[in-house]
Amino acid sequence: MVFRPSEWLKLLSFQNTPFQRPFDHLKGVVGIIILFCNMNLSAININQLIEDGYIVINNENEQEYEEILTNFVDNPIVWTVTNSSQLEQLPINDFLKNSLIHFLKSMREISDWESFQTKSGFSEIEMETIQLFITFEDKKYLSGKVYNFNSLQDEDELAINKNLIRLKMDTPTGWNIGGIIERDQDEIHVFDHFNFSIQSPLLFDRLKINLGSFRFKWGTGLFFNTNPMNMISNSGSGNFYNVGAKIQGYSGSDENNHFLGGSISYQSKVASIFTFYSMNNMDCNIEDGIVTSADYSGYHVSENDLKNHNKLKNISTGIGSSFHIKELQIGMLVYNSNFNYQLEDFYRKNSLSGSSMFHNYQYRDIYFKGEIAYSFNQKYAMVQSIFYRSSRIQTGCNFRYFQPEFQSFSGSTIRHFSSSLENEKGFYYYMGVRINQSTKLTLFSDIYSRIIPSEKGSGIDKGTYSGIYLKRNLKSKSYLEFKLSRKNDLLSVKNSYAVKLKHRLVRNLDLINRYYFTEIFDTNNNSQGFSSYISSKIREHSFSVGTTHHFSNSSTCNLYVYEPGIPLRYNMVTLSGTGRNYFTNYSCQINKQTEIFLSVKQTSKSQQDKYFLQLQLLVAL
């Protein structure tokens, strides 16, 4: 392995190299879209707020991270007209969310940040978080953003790891336009993935139209969810999530989990009716003309990837409505999906359909949420939860029941078994307590089991998953965190511990240390990781530099560790085997319109070295 910065520079400056062609195409695109240019940028702050746990995204997924964050940041909630259910959906930590919801009850009329902070008593960093997602004026103007992300990798030879260009524009009349071009490592086609979306404002005060790529989110996610990950969310209240009915333009990098077509919705004060039609092609694995599994990876490198790229045609239609009566929201949906191949997981059917009903009801500080879904093979699934919020305590429980053979192609919600939503029941309990001004404690426990044995003659699988999380704020923005989780599924017991200390050495210079330890009893597998880095922000410049060391003696014990990196990118790294990483990041806000991010990283695993150079340009139009 030879470090060849000159070659990297050549690539970045689009000089003649063996890799000229892909960049040559992108060069023109970048050049054109940078010509546009009025929106506040905030990506540098976002990284810090994620790091300190003020921003929390439920069920993180690499493809979703950027999309979720930018959607919230680009479409801030207007304080004077918002309600608690809107605030509930913000990607912020539970304690801050609680305080915000309670503050809204008494101080809705506030219209400037100074009095907001004085009356609420929020800390500086909490205000920073709130200001990202909330605004006081619903002013519309022509605005937009361009994200240009390039990642290069040098292992045996220099190669493009990923490049992505994303455009989002909002017009003064309320139209939203978005698009993305993306290419992953080693993919042959420069425009391996691209999509566009157009979302109208409320036309004639009644109609809303989406064209192109869009996301349909419904209830608790029994039929439609955007995120294929299904584990318990880090955020306790994230497991009580009920999004209601939402159709939103999509310009993210997930190549499979979105619809492509159009939707129209009619909205009145108390009710809305919508319908959608989508015809999108998805990746899948096909054997003997039957789809054995969906493939959500989005990588099209090997011959097999290319063969199965966009092979599965999914034609979905649906119609639904939702009603708002004071604090009660009820929604109903009927949908049908047709596929051009038979689906192995769904008894070789090529058509799935179902109906669903969700409810959201708030009585004072108590929330009742739930969804019942009925698939047209006469099986049902449901999630019902009750949740209580006060300024110091939030607690709730959640019951789920997915009948065996219940059919859901795009559903995803909290679960432990199998990749599809079926044959599981569980009870989840959560409590978060602000013990005092500086100490927060969170507990959760999930008890789950199958309803019938997964195989004839075998016993019923069951297990428990529980955890505790403690955070104590120390002097001058320093804090200490401790996490412990334990999963017992009868076959094995897995304990995971994590400790984090952030210490402010001097103003603008922080030292952050993290330690992870996971062990699986019975198999004697374990893993450890340690990460240490310093982080600083001076005026418009910010940097971080540090190292991670890790050891794992089994792939069942891989570590998932946060390493600071490019903002809006997914910065959780998976560590296996033994080795270490060195990383350094630099961000600079050049002017009000432009932020630039640079990340250099070297990883070494079992003496195999890799170098990464990542560059992101964020331009406000």
Binding site: L511, F530, F551, R580
Partner: protein, 264 residues
């Protein structure tokens, strides 16, 4: 010394050569082998402001193996309030197999509560009837003075991945993170997470108790492999005599003796 014993010794440390990873300073050994927090350890950033010049000399016969003599010498010199240099050398082995290490380091205390350091090590290996082998290793460290009681340090050892034996044997690249907590004037608690890049983590814990004005007791424990250590230091004027002991799961205990001499 029998070659079989030598091989056993090397295997017991999980490394290709014993360079640097085998601590020889008796105070460090007594304190659990924590190498990233002691001025005569491996971390060049560790700053000693108490004395203008410090000398150390240590001797041990590893595991009581015949002829396996180990010597360690060091000098720590504070140039001024913010800069210091460290010169160290040690020697392990006998006529058949002999390792020598020479080390020079420089540390700089910044205007913020951080000190940084860098050191260059020269490794020399001679095996009877073979050519002498040499290599250079570069190490760096950072110390964070969180407050008057707590110090944290990180050590990056042999970051240039030196090789020896005709560039075929890799000398260990290692990392250590240490925390020193001076609970009160009598009691000090130390811990360290140590990692050779190719091997699992080792955890080390050590305590230092100032029982009387001139007497200190040390105890320490290491995991993976599990070892216990302890020692006592007696200070008379500017000289400190240290004796310590380290256990081993398979081999006999090792005794260390050393002395330190200070000039104000």
């Amino acid at each position: 010394m029998k070659r079989s014993l030598l091989i056993l010794l090397i295997l017991s440390f999980n490394l290709f050569g014993a360079f640097e990873l085998q601590q020889l300073n008796s105070e460090i050994i007594g304190n659990g082998g924590i190498c990233s927090l002691h001025p005569f350890g491996n971390n060049p950033a560790v700053f000693s402001t108490d004395h203008k010049i410090s000398f150390t000399s240590n001797y041990t016969n590893l595991f009581g193996i015949k002829d396996l003599h180990c010597w360690d010498f060091g000098m720590h010199y504070n140039l001024n309030d913010n800069n210091s240099i460290l010169i160290k050398s040690n020697s392990v082995g006998d006529k058949v197999y002999h390792e020598n290490t020479f080390n020079i380091g420089y540390s700089w205390r910044l205007n913020i509560p951080v000190s940084i350091g860098i050191s260059l090590s020269y490794y020399n290996l001679s095996v009877e009837k073979f050519e002498t082998e040499n290599s250079f290793g570069l190490s760096a460290g950072i110390c964070y003075f969180l407050n008057e009681q707590v110090t944290m340090s990180t050590l990056f050892g042999n970051v240039n991945r030196p090789k020896i034996c005709k560039n075929e044997e890799l000398l260990p690249e290692y990392f250590a993170f240490g925390v020193k907590w001076q609970i009160n004037r009598f009691f000090e608690l130390n811990s360290e997470l140590f990692k050779d890049t190719l091997y699992p983590f080792n955890s080390r814990f050590g305590t230092k108790v100032n029982l009387y004005r001139n007497i200190q007791f040390f105890t320490g424990i290491q995991t993976n492999p599990d070892r216990f250590s302890g020692g006592v230091a007696i200070q008379m004027f500017n000289i400190k005599f240290i004796s310590s002991l380290q256990t081993h799961l398979k081999l006999p205990h090792t005794y260390y003796i050393g002395c330190q001499f200070y000039l104000k």
